[in-house]
Structure formats: C-alpha cells, structure tokens
Amino acid sequence: MSAIQFHGGGLTALPPLSLYIHIPWCVKKCPYCDFNSHAQKGGLPEAQYVDALLRDLESCLPLVWGRPVTSIFIGGGTPSLFSAQAIDTLLAGIRARVRLLPDAEITLEANPGTFEADKFAGYRAAGINRLSIGIQSLDDAKLKALGRIHGRDEALRSVEIAHRHFDNFNLDLMYALPSQTLDEALADLDAAIALAPTHLSAYHLTLEPNTLFHRYPPPLPDDDLAADMQEAIEARLAAAGFEHYETSAFARPGRRARHNLNYWTFGDYLGIGAGAHAKISFPDRITRQARYKQPTDYLARMAAGNAAELDQTVPREQLPFEFMLNALRLTEGFPLALFTERTGLPLTRLLPEIDRACAEDLLERTLDHVRPTLRGRRFLNALLERFLP
C-alpha cells in the first residue's frame, strides 16, 4: 500500500486483476438460463472470434498497464464447444500481451455432451488448469426437465475424462428442480460428491426474468422444501469435508475458486468477448464496462476497433452497496480495512449500518473484521438492501 493518501478519498493501491473471457455459444439455449448465450447455428467462427478476443484484450491494455493478471476464467455459453487448438491460440495470445502470473488459476467452463477425451488433453496442454463442469444434475428426468442436452451417462463420462487430465475441477449442481423431492436432491448431491470434485457449486434454481421458465414456470418445490434442501445439502457437504465459503460455493481445503474470490473481494477484472463485463479501478475512480452482447454485433464492433457498449464510472454513492453485494456473500466476510482499500471511501460511511445489522443478528464484527451471521447469510437480500444508496 502506498503511503500517499488522496485528498477526499481515492484508492491507495490497485486490487488484483483477473481476466474474464466470454464464449457466447451453446448447442441450445436452456429454458432457465439468463446468461448471454446463443444457440449455435452452423459452424462457429472460432478463429475469427479468438482473433477478436485478442484485439479486444489489446484495446484494454492502456487501462491496466503493468498490472499482472492473477487468474483467467473462460465462461459462457459453452466454451468447451471451442477446439483445443483455438483455446491454445487464445491463451498463447494472452500470455504474449499481459503478464500472467505463473501460478495463475485458468478455468474453462465445459458442458457434458460437448467434448471428448483428446479435447481435454488438448485443453490441459494449452494451459487450462481447472475445469468447471455444468452437470447440473445426475438424474435423467431432471436433466430433461431442465432442457439439458446431456443425460446422466454423459455427465458421468465427462467427469471421468476430466479426472484423467485435471486434478482441480468444479461441478455445477442445481437443486429445487422441477418436481424434485428432498431425497432426490440429496441423491443427486451424493452422486456428485462420489465423483470427487475439488469444488462444488450448488445453486438454488432461480426463475430469472427473460427466460422461458419465467414465462412458463415449471412446478417447483415450495420455499420451505427448497430451504430444507439447502440445509441438508450444506450439512452433507460439510460432512464430506467441503468448506462452505460463499453463498453457493463449496470447496475442498485450498481449492476455493480464486477467480471468483477476486469478484467477491471486489477485485478488478477485464472482460473480453460478447457481453463480457469489466471492472477496472484507477486511483481516482472505478469504472465498469460491458461489451455488445450479440456475437455478430460484437464481431462487427471489434472489427471497427471498439466493442464497449457501456463504459462508465461507478458513482461513489453506489460503491458501498456494490462492495457489500460481493463481500457479504463470503462466509468469512472481510477485513474492515478492505472496504477502504477497494472503494477509496472512509469506513465511517459504512459503520453505522454495519452496527445496526449487528444489533439485529445479521452481521457480526470484531474491531477489524466483519462477517454475516448464519441469519445474515439466509437473509442476505434483506441485509444488502440496507446498503443501497
């Protein structure tokens, strides 16, 4: 940390910087998904897109001169639709343009049904050192209800292949699925644990606006049953040796997702690719960027030199909420000093609200650290609302 304090606030040190890369295509769009994904029609413009990504990265360089990149996450969409060759070209191009730390976590999202054994070997050789596999469930009926293209067998096979090449992988699992019972949810979980992942994300299926499920809701378990599922899942994962470190994230010791932790500790990230978001800090301001979402728009804009649809400074009064929206997802909370370090704002802005929340058993704090209580984690939205400007 620099000793120089900026008059009237400001950042004295810049946070770690990670890189997010968005691959916007899927075999088909799932009915619950509100991410920027587009059904693949015909062949993918793989080479053209990788080329655009690298030029996109280049256009970002002036904003982050000299800063090393601590992690990379290739998300989607379904990045595993891309060939190992394309991923290799991409990562090589990145290394040539930014300083990637030697121990950087490099994750690729993969969906069962889109890759086979030699592709995995290729990804590993290209430098990917962590996989995140979207199995969602291991129950054929549920996978069908979710509109997934894979079944239980394909999910199992993909994990088996992953094991051969990766010692670090995450499984995405969802619960509170259409017509799911508590027993079914736990059976799913047990099957997933048996696959020995180092990390597991267990998401409550949410009906997001602008999805097919939102318009035509399937018969979902009621709130009480869903809450029962969550509690049972947390208990079973704890018993299996997983640490519950974020709302939906569980990890074996030492295997927390470093890239995601950077989001949750209000770190910086570049975002390249269609619809990718970035957050970049400067000594006097924090900006957010978003790229054009439609792959064709993105490619056309990138060809013209700039694909940012949005590039704005986050108003100061929004920073406390944005910080808390991320940091309070962490079971361990955050050191109080991190707030000032990441937002440049004095802690006094936050303390009265923190103390109120402590009095209501939503937060607990020591002199230099604050974290959500169990109640605060259960009612995180109500807690976060208090920090809205």
Partner: protein, 597 residues
C-alpha cells in the same frame, strides 16, 4: 324569461349523458370543433377515466328552434353517483325540466329511478330520451315500456337518439323548448339565488354556480349568504358556454357564475341561498342541508415524514371538495395521520386516488367505517367515527348503528341471490314490487354492511344487472362488539372493527386467515390474532421466510442484481412498518375481502 329553459340530464353512468351534453354544445356552437375534447363537461382527469361527473358544471347554449326563435338553454350537469345525491337534488331544483336518458339496450337502473323521483318530487318536468338506439341490442319499445312501468311517466313518444352518432339531437332540443316550461320567478323581487355548486379557482377564489330565482345579481352588489350570514361583495357574474363569459347581471330565471372574493369553499355551501344585504329576502329557498360525512377512514402516510405533505395535499383537495372532512388522528400502529369523512365509498376512492395520483402520496387507508351513536351510562349520546375508540362495554348502555333504506332494481332472474345477499347483510325487507321485467326491492340495511363490499357483491350476484340507491333512515340499537386484531401480540388500533355479535367470531376468523394470505412472509414468524373483549377468538401464523438470497453473483451480474434488490426494497417501502412487521396496504383492507357465510 319565456325564452329560457333550465334543464338537467338524468342518466345512469355509461348511459351517455356526457356524450349527449357534448353534442348539445357542439350543435349550438358553444365551442369550436378544435376546442371539443371528448366530454368537455367532465373536466377532471379521474372523471374522464371513470366516466362519471363529480362536480356539477353547466353550459349556457343559444338554440335557434324550429319556430324561428332563439332560446337560451341552460344545461346543468349533475353528478351521477349515489354518494352525491344531495348535489343532484340541488342541481335538479335549479331546473324546470330534466331529460331522463336511458340506454335503449340496457334499461332503467336504480340510480336513475332515485334521481327521477327526486326530480318529480321537486316538480321538475321529466322527459324521457332513449339513447344508443343504433346499437344492435337496442330495444326501444321494451325500454319505453319499462320507463312507464317503473317511473310512471309517459314514454311511448320518447325521443329516439344516439348521442354518439349524433342521431336525434335536434329533436331532443325541440323537446326541451316545447315540453319544458320556462322559469317563473319575480324579476323585481328581492334577490334569491340558489348555489348549485361551488369550487375553488386559484386566481379568483371561490366560483359559485347559481340559479337566480328572484331579482337579479350584478357586480358591486352586497351579498348575504343566508345559512352562514356571511356578507361578500359581488365582483363578477357571467355564464359558461362552457367557456366563461362575463355579463353585466344575472337575472331571474338565469343560471351562471358569481365570484365574490370568497377564499373558503365552506362559505359558499351548495344549496344555500344568496340574497342582497339590502333589501334581503325574508326566507331562504327550501332544501338546504349541511351535508354530513357518512363514511370514515383513516389515511396515513406510509413514510411518517410525509405527514405534513399529506396535510397540505388534503388541504388543497378540500379547497375544491367541501364534502371532504379531515382531522388529525394518532394511531399507535400507524403514527400520525388523518381521520377523513366522506360522502360514501366512491368519494373515498376518488380522494384516495387523487392523493396518490395528483399529489404523489403513498398512503395506508384503514377499512371504511360508519358513525356509531353511543348512549353512555349517564344518558348522554356521543358519536364514534373510529372503531378503536369504542370504549369498554361497561361504559355505555347502548350502541346504535346507522340504518339506510336501500332501493334495489334487479331483473327477475336474480331476485333470489340478491335477497339472500341482503339477508346475510342483516337486511330487513320492506317492499318488493314487480315492474315488468324488473323487480324493485326495498330493504333496510345497516349502513356499515353497505359501505364494506355490498355494492361489489350485489353486482357479482346479479352479473352486474342490479343497481342500488340508498338514503339514510335512522340510528338503531344493535348488538355490536369491537373486534381487535393483534399482530405479534400487539393490538393494531388501525385494524379494529365494529361488527355484529352474531357475525363476530366468523368474521374474526376469516379476517385473520385473509391477513395471513396478504402479509408476506418475513424474517420471523408473524402471529395474527383476532380478539373480542380480552378474548382471543382466532389465530393464524405467517411462517417466517426461510431464506432470501441470490443464488449467483459474478462479475457480470452486478447491475442486474442491483436492480433486483432495488425493486425488492421499493416493494417493501409500500408497506407500513408496524412494530417490526411490514404490513401491506391490502392487509389493512383485508376485511373487504372477507366473504360471508
């Protein structure tokens, strides 16, 4: 005077009164075409949306009749809802004639009948007009017969018209000229002018619409208001065409406006008589009444710091609505607010809507209630407008509730369900008359039952065909008890109700069960109980929400998640915090959704 005709239009909502008025104005050239916005007489936005006229307005029209002479026709608009029956009677008493406009595809409705009877009692000549005859469903012969059967006036030769398509407009105007008598009155006698309506104008103060009965009124006259004995100097007189046009004087038989530098609407009461300070008339015109509020409700700002702006808004509304009454009230649960008195439920709804729409207020309205009379142990009589103020039964010997006489007009097919409804609402049948296809039922009903949801129920059991008119009759002793509601053990005064003992347990149980549905799950259990005296008669629990958390939040989600939480927070803001429980507006009115056995 023989070329003056003063007339009103009596019609049920939607039967085409405003459209017809527009046609008259257009036909007589009162407004250029470009000035005609649809239904010019209904000037307030809410009136336009609901299609009803709240404040009576008027238009002075020049009509060249088929006999070649020019007549001054004064169309006096009347309100069209049961809450405003006094205003209607004042408007009608300023006329010599009235057009009874009936939708030829629908038939006569109770409201129309009541207003017609008022007109006939006041000696006003009623001429029927069958409107909307160009509709495929129009049955002019049947409806004419119905008018004869129900109202008892000759209707065979009623003018067939369609205000919308402009059919028969001139025929109606001829009917006005030939069948409605010219005004009578003494042009040289001492001034007597009836205040038909009054409203507040930001530039000139109170504007009064008057009918001059005797004498004449001119600027610089010293005016005496006979009910209040207030004196004011006349500043301006004129007529509405409906644009305002100044005149040198208003003479006997004429209708027009008077401006006299009055700052408060309360000084220009509808129905009062204006005379000169010298020479003054001996007796006022008959029929003046101080209108009393019939329905009361508490209005509270959702955010307590909006109390002052609620006061300002109510004060501004009252400038133009003399029948709105309010006084400060403190509720333990809701904080500072106002107990407001209204003419009826519609009036309440209109005020509530105007406060929310024009003044941008977020409000909690408590369940509407009527006035109860209490005979105390020492024999004194007091009135209770707020159920939570009802003292312990040991303090009084009797409680009396207002009873109304309700006239219901309903097609024969629905008589059964309507009678069942009236019985459930503790009604006593007084009369039943078959009038052609329709049946006229007369019931005495507790007003408290009527202000709740009677009208909606009546419409639903009769598929919308039944219509209702009512009049206050008397206060009657009844076995009434106070029903309290407790939320997490605390009595919420704003939720107290006065109910009949026979229904009390059932209503208490239904009420808390309804409230359980309406109060959203919160971070802790919420117990809702109903109690009579100290005794709990029902209990429901809104189980605590188990969790409220977003499953995912990554780098690209910030903006979306922020919007989601902002929306969630805004939703809570619309709720009132009572203790640590957030209660939505609907829950305060849950009683309106309780169905009867």
């Amino acid at each position: 005077m023989k070329h003056i005709r003063n007339f009103s239009i009596i019609a049920h909502i939607d039967h085409g009164k405003s459209t017809l008025a527009d046609r008259f104005i257009q036909f007589c050239g009162g407004l250029e075409l470009r000035e005609m916005s649809e239904q010019v007489l209904d000037s307030m936005d809410i009136e336009k949306e609901r299609g009803i006229t709240i404040k009576a307005q008027t238009a002075a029209l020049q009509y060249k009749a088929r006999d070649g002479q020019i007549y001054n026709l004064n169309l006096i608009d009347t309100p069209g809802h049961v809450d405003f029956s006094y205003e209607v009677s004042r408007s009608l008493s300023a006329c010599e004639g009235a057009l009874l406009v009936v939708d030829a595809s629908q038939g006569v409705e109770a409201q129309t009948v009541a207003n017609c009877y008022t007109a006939i009692e006041l000696g006003v000549e009623v001429r029927p007009v069958l409107n909307k005859i160009d509709l495929p469903a129009a049955e002019p012969e049947r409806v004419a017969q119905e008018i004869e059967d129900i109202i008892g006036i000759e209707a065979a030769d009623a003018v067939r018209a369609s205000a919308k398509s402009g059919i028969g407009i001139e025929d109606i105007l001829e009917e006005v000229v030939n069948r409605i008598p010219p005004p009578t009155g003494n042009p040289d006698g001492p001034l007597k002018a009836l205040i038909i309506d009054s409203w507040f104008d930001n530039y000139v103060g109170v504007v009064m619409l008057v009918r001059v009965v005797d004498g004449q009124i001119a600027p610089k006259d010293k005016l005496l208001f006979m009910s209040t004995h207030a004196q004011h100097l006349c500043e301006q007189v004129g007529v509405f065409t409906p644009k305002s046009i100044q005149r040198e004087a208003l003479k006997a038989g004429e209708v027009g406006f008077v401006i006299a530098g009055i700052k408060e609407l309360a000084s220009a009461k509808v129905g009062d008589t204006i005379t000169h300070v010298r020479p003054a008339a001996d007796t006022p015109l008959p029929g003046f009444k101080d209108v009393k509020s019939q329905v009361f409700a508490g209005l509270y700002p959702v955010e307590s710091h909006d109390y002052e702006s609620l006061r300002d808004s109510l004060t501004k509304l009252k400038l133009n609505d003399a029948s709105l009454h309010f006084e400060p009230e403190v509720s333990q649960a809701l904080g500072f607010g106002f107990r407001c008195g209204f003419l009826g439920l519609l009036h309440l709804e209109i005020v509530q809507e105007r406060l929310e729409r024009e003044f941008d207020m977020d409000l909690i309205t408590t369940a509407p209630t009527v006035v109860y009379e209490l005979v105390m142990k020492d024999g004194t009589v007091t009135q209770i407008e707020n159920p939570s103020k009802l003292p312990d039964p040991s303090k009084y010997q009797e409680i009396r509730e207002p009873i109304i006489t309700a006239t219901i007009l309903v097609p024969q097919d629905y008589v059964g369900p309507v009678m069942t409804l009236c019985n459930v609402k503790r009604g006593v049948q007084r009369n039943m008359q078959y009038l052609g296809r329709q049946v006229m039922l007369t019931y005495e009903l507790p007003m408290a039952e009527v202000v709740m949801d009677f009208f909606d129920k009546l419409k639903s059991v009769s598929r919308g065909y039944a219509s209702l008119d009512y009049d206050f009759k008397e206060f009657q002793a009844a076995d009434l008890v106070k029903l309290d509601v407790l939320v997490n053990g605390e009595r919420v005064d704003a939720l107290s109700l006065i109910v009949h003992r026979a229904n009390s347990v059932y209503r208490g149980r239904e009420l808390v069960s309804k409230m359980r549905e309406l109060i959203p799950r919160q971070m802790y259990d919420v117990a809702v109980q109903a109690a009579i005296g100290g005794q709990i008669i029902a209990r429901e629990t809104v189980k605590a929400m188990r969790k409220d958390v977003l499953a995912k939040c990554y780098g690209g989600d910030i903006t979306r998640k922020k919007k989601l939480l902002e929306k969630q927070k805004a939703g809570k803001k619309r709720m009132k915090q009572v203790g640590n429980v957030e209660i939505p507006q609907e829950a305060f009115l849950a009683i309106l959704q309780v169905s009867d056995k």
